[in-house]
Symmetry: C2
């Protein structure tokens, strides 16, 4: 997918990946893969950004002797998802504008 198009989807997709169940970096990448591929460096940048924006909270859990960071969505994160769903309506109208056929003879 075009990188510019991805930009607008990544944050919301990451939030969606933890919406129903707390998750951690590596698992988020795997869960998102069928929909949107992203590198680890990108994901950790996004997770930090979303944490700063209070859209998720982090909790470190010991797993096999190492710390694993679980991410939990906040109300601001859920709001972000809902805002995206509103913006989706605008995107549909843009899609129709882009897809419209020649109307010079109408």
């Amino acid at each position: 997918m075009d990188i510019q198009l991805k930009r607008g989807l990544l944050d919301v997709c990451v939030l969606a990946a933890i919406k129903n169940e707390d998750s951690y970096g590596y698992k988020i990448i795997k869960d998102m893969k069928p929909y949107l591929e992203l590198s680890e460096s990108t994901l950790y940048t996004i997770l930090k950004r979303l944490e700063t924006a209070d859209m998720l909270k982090v909790r470190s859990v010991e797993h096999n002797g190492r710390l694993r960071k679980y991410y939990h969505i906040t109300s601001a994160g859920l709001k972000r998802i809902n805002d995206f769903r509103e913006e989706w309506k605008e995107m549909v109208s843009i899609y129709q504008f882009v897809s419209r056929e020649d109307d010079s003879n109408e």
Copy 2:
């Protein structure tokens, strides 16, 4: 609309604005306004980028004693629009992923 989301749409929208009829900067902005607002500085950056990518051609026409630049879409530009329509399908599936309800009890 979220700026990151706009990024993926701007180029294609500008191409769509000249698809059926050659147009010029000021008119493109007005035509796009109901769908996507953009500033002049953004548009001229985009037009230059699309020209470099051979997605449009420029033609200067004298109008009221001044030159007005008309932009004409090329086959590469039309291909870009079609590529977007393919990507739209991926976006719909991402939208569904983001919008899915809790499925932990299914």
